[in-house]
């Protein structure tokens, strides 16, 4: 039964006697593999040797600070809205007097949590952020976790360390 007229019977020439002797073809194949035998392996020995992942690789999240060391995040919640995996949650808090050097805007995230089991590293949070506060860094992957307690990353793990600032190529 033909479902459509698109079917096409593929045909192949029957092998000639010269082809059916196989041995020349086998010798050719063995030469090919022998050539590879002497080639340099392409393996990257992972734990010791790491591959450069490119300038736009989406690794672990980071909450940026500005030049003065104040957190950029204003807890607007756009990243949590944008997140397709619903991995981000936050609790907002109003900035008090005297905290201007800590938080750039009048409102800041008291709690900012990302569930790394839910996160799919799509980078939509980065795109949604109006304050350029959250980024997926290209040089560091989320470390392997051994228990479920380590899965939710709070601000202690996410906020940028001023001694070791994260800079992307082309930012400066």
């Amino acid at each position: 039964m033909k479902l459509s007229n698109k079917t096409k019977v593929l045909e192949q020439e029957e092998m000639t006697l010269a082809e059916r002797m196989y041995l020349p073809a086998i010798a050719g194949g063995m030469l090919t593999t022998l050539k590879h035998f002497f080639q340099k392996p392409v393996t990257i020995r992972y734990p010791e040797q790491k591959r450069y992942l490119g300038p736009i690789y989406r690794g672990q999240h980071i909450l940026k600070k500005d030049e003065q060391g104040a957190e950029r995040c204003t807890a607007c919640g756009l990243c949590a809205v944008a997140c397709p995996a619903e991995a981000i949650s936050m609790v907002a808090e109003e900035r008090k007097k005297g905290e201007e050097h800590l938080y750039r805007e009048e409102k800041y995230a008291k709690v900012y949590e990302i569930n790394m089991l839910r996160c799919i590293f799509c980078g939509l949070c980065e795109e949604a952020c109006p304050k350029q506060a959250i980024f997926l860094r290209h040089d560091k992957m989320v470390p392997v976790f051994n228990s479920r307690d380590e899965v939710i990353f709070g601000k202690d793990k996410l906020v940028e360390n001023m001694d070791d600032r994260y800079l992307r190529e082309g930012w400066k």
Partner: protein, 388 residues
């Protein structure tokens, strides 16, 4: 009486050494198989256990012994255990008649052959033991009480029987040239560079193809064809019983390499034997010969691996077709042509290279004959549908 016991001790030591070499080579074949596989595929291979991973076989052995030794509930228990033992036993038995080296002189009139035993049916012994090798697979596969194991075992049996014929016919050519069944005599006839490969190119190709089939190696490893039979005859095996099967395969590889070196590559003969003999004496020269044979056998093990990582597996009907309608007729032609290459030079007083010439002409003659036959009988080419 004293001499007899000395000879006995020497033989015992020799057997122990051969045993150790065989097992050592088999153990390290597993490692080199993986390393070579990696090299052929531009990878690195196992390199974690010890420097360059050379302790990998040890780690594998420990793993094998630690695994649960499982016997299926409805399996025939004794036969299930007998299977791998038989495989190992037959794999190790062959080396008894292979001459690993020439005679070593210990002084005091004590001369000692580097060979297990020189029976005058040497090559038939090899052939017989090889034909028994299939029992291990057959018994193990049946005793597992598993359809896949059984199918693998049956495949192994029919494959071994089919390829034994062509193998026997290619051995017959060697026997015709040497006039003896003794492996020692066959090797001695090849000394000083008169290696049988020069006289028997077609026979060697036939023999190595059959050796692949007898060892159940790719491209003839249908008994353990994973895509069709899970694991083939050793589907139900675990722990060291599985280890025995795998080990037996590697031992078979090494031994068949040694047999091929004995039959076609001059055994323990090597170039510049005379120079070494003059410089350091016969004993050293003969020990180097021992090394030469091991080296040749290892080279064949490499070829086995090389082919394994180059060629895909045959389909079962292709395998049978090749064996029965391809190799056996060619082997028969080779027998006849060998007779010609022995008779012609003697009847026409050709020089010594005449025999070599006649043997090599056999290959183009065979190919030409095939083309003529194909042109006359084959008919016109037809197209084959790939899919329908």
């Amino acid at each position: 009486m004293e001499i007899t016991s000395t000879v006995f001790t020497a033989k015992a030591i020799y057997v122990g050494v051969i045993f150790a070499i065989t097992l050592g080579v088999a153990a390290y074949s597993t490692y080199f198989e993986r390393i070579f596989a990696a090299f052929f595929q531009d990878r690195v291979g196992p390199d974690r256990a010890g420097p360059m991973g050379i302790l990998q076989p040890l780690a594998d052995a420990v793993k094998m012994f630690m695994k649960e030794d499982f016997i299926p509930s409805n399996a025939s228990k004794w036969l299930f255990i007998t299977g791998p033992c038989l495989s190992m036993f037959t794999a190790l038995m062959t080396s008894a008649v292979i001459p690993f080296g020439d005679t070593v002189d210990f002084g005091n009139g004590l001369r000692f052959d580097l060979q297990g035993i020189d029976v005058n049916i040497g090559i038939l012994w090899v052939f017989g033991v090889v034909s028994l090798g299939v029992y291990g697979i057959l018994v193990g596969g049946w005793a597992s009480n598993n359809k896949y194991s059984l199918l693998g075992a049956i495949r192994a049996a029919s494959q071994n029987i089919s390829y034994e014929l062509a193998m026997g016919l290619s051995i017959i050519c060697i026997l015709m040239m040497t006039g003896s069944l003794s492996t020692k005599a066959i090797v001695e006839a090849q000394q000083n560079g008169h290696w049988n490969i020069l006289y028997q190119p077609a026979g060697f190709i036939l023999f190595i193809i059959c050796a692949f089939a007898e060892c159940n190696r790719t491209p003839f490893d249908l008994p353990e064809c994973e895509t069709e039979l899970i694991g083939g005859y050793h589907t139900e095996y675990s722990s060291m019983k599985l280890g025995f099967y795998l080990f037996a395969e590697y031992i078979n590889m090494f031994i068949s390499g040694a047999v091929m070196a004995t039959l076609y590559f001059g055994g323990y003969d090597y170039p510049f034997y005379d120079v070494v003999n003059d410089a350091w004496g016969t004993n050293i020269a003969n020990f180097i010969g021992f090394g030469a044979l091991i080296g040749k056998a290892l080279l064949f093990v490499f070829v086995f691996m090389w082919v394994r990582w180059t060629l895909p597996r045959f389909r079962y009907d292709q395998l049978m077709n090749l064996g029965w309608t391809g190799l056996i007729p060619i082997a028969m032609f080779n027998v006849v042509w060998t007779g010609l290459s022995i008779l012609l030079p003697t009847s026409f007083n050709l020089p010594s290279w005449g025999s070599i010439g006649v043997s090599w002409i056999g290959i183009p003659v065979l190919i030409a004959g095939l083309f003529v036959y194909h042109a006359v009988v084959g008919g016109k080419k037809k197209k084959v549908a790939l899919a329908r």
